[in-house]
Amino acid sequence: MSGDAVSGDARQDRDDLVAFFAKRFPDVEFSDHANGAYALDEAKARQWREIEDFPPYEPMIDEGERLFNTAFSNGSGYAACFEHEGIGIKQRYPRFDPDTRQVVTLELAVNHCRELNGESPLSYTGEAITAITAYMAFTSRGQKFDISVPEGAESAFNQGKQFYYSRRGQLNFACSNCHLDAAGLRLRAEILSATIGHATHWPAYRFKWQELGGIHRRFAECNEQVGAVALDHQSEAYRNLEYFMTVMNNGMTLNGPSTRK
C-alpha cells in the first residue's frame, strides 16, 4: 500500500479488506478488482472490454477537455488551480484539507476553483462538472490511487467508514451487506462487486442512466434502492464515504471513466 501519510487504522482497514477478498476470491488478483463485478465473471468481462473498445462516454471526455481549457472571464482557467495544471491528479482525490478540516472531492475542488475566479459554481448533478471530472480522470488513467489520511483526518475517515457499515433505509441494508457479505453473489442477473475497487472508475457511464454520472449519484441511487432518503451530492456524509472508499482502493489503478451496467 502506498501513501506514507495513511494512519495506522486506515491502513489496517484497507489491509483487512484486501485479505478478506483474497480469501473470498482466491483466483482474483487484487488489481483486477478495479474492474468491479467484471473481475468476478469472465463472460461479462469480455462483453465489457468490447464496449470499452468504443466507449459511449468518449464524447463527454472531449467535451470535458473543451470545458477544462475554456478560460474564465478573468482570463485564468482550471489549470491554474491544481498541481500539474490539473493533469494526472485524480488519483490523489478526494483529499483531506487540514485548513477547513473537510474532505475535498475533485468536484468540490473544481467548483472552488470557479468561485475563486469569480465564476458561479456548477451544479453537482449537471453534465458540465461530470464532463470536466471525466476528462481529468482520463488524464489520470493508469495511475495508482494514493490517498493520504493525515493527522486530523481520522474523524472524516471514520465517519465514512461508519456510513459504509451502517444499515439504513426501510429495507435495512448497509453498503457492506451487498458488497462485503454478499460480494460475488447475484441480485437477479447482476453480480455484486467487492468493496475494493469501487472508487476506481468514476465518473461512469451506466447503461441504466444512459449517461455519465459521478460516484455520489451512485451513492444516492443505492440509498434510494434500500428505501432511504438520499443525501445531497457533495454532502459531508457522501464526501466522507467517498474518502473511506477511495482509501480502500489505495494501490489500485485508476481506470475511469468507464462503463457499468
Partner: protein
C-alpha cells in the same frame, strides 16, 4: 436480527384500525377526531425532520405524510389517520435504526480483521 424483524414488521404494517366509524360521530367528536389526526400528521412531520437531521430518513415516511395530507384535504379522515399513523411509525423506526446502528455498525467489519475487537 431482532432489529431487522422489528423494522420489517413496521415496514409491512398495514393501515391501523381505529375504533368507531366517522359516520357515527357527533359533530363535536368529528372535529375532535380531525384535530387528533392533524396532531398525528404534525408529529410524523417532526419525527421525519429529526430522521433527516440524522441522515436516516426513509422515503416511505415522506410518501405517507403526503398521502395523509391529501386524504385529509379530501375529507377522508379515517384514511388520513391510517396514513399518518404509518408515517409516524416509520419515522420512529428510522430514528431507532439510527440509534441502533450507531452502536452495532462495527460488528459488520470483515471477520478476518485482527483490528476489529478494539474500538
Amino acid at each position: 436480527m431482532r432489529m431487522a424483524w422489528l423494522l420489517l414488521i413496521l415496514a409491512c404494517a398495514g393501515p391501523m384500525e381505529i375504533s368507531g366509524s366517522a359516520d357515527a360521530r357527533t359533530p363535536e367528536a368529528h372535529v375532535a377526531h380531525n384535530e387528533s389526526v392533524q396532531t398525528v400528521i404534525q408529529t410524523a412531520r417532526q419525527k421525519f425532520q429529526q430522521a433527516l437531521k440524522l441522515d436516516y430518513a426513509w422515503r416511505v415516511t415522506a410518501d405517507l405524510i403526503s398521502e395523509a395530507e391529501k386524504r385529509m384535504a379530501a375529507g377522508d379522515t379515517q384514511g388520513a389517520h391510517d396514513a399518518a399513523t404509518r408515517a409516524l411509525l416509520s419515522a420512529e423506526a428510522s430514528i431507532l435504526q439510527a440509534e441502533h446502528e450507531s452502536r452495532v455498525w462495527r460488528e459488520r467489519l470483515p471477520k478476518t480483521a485482527t483490528s476489529n475487537v478494539k474500538k
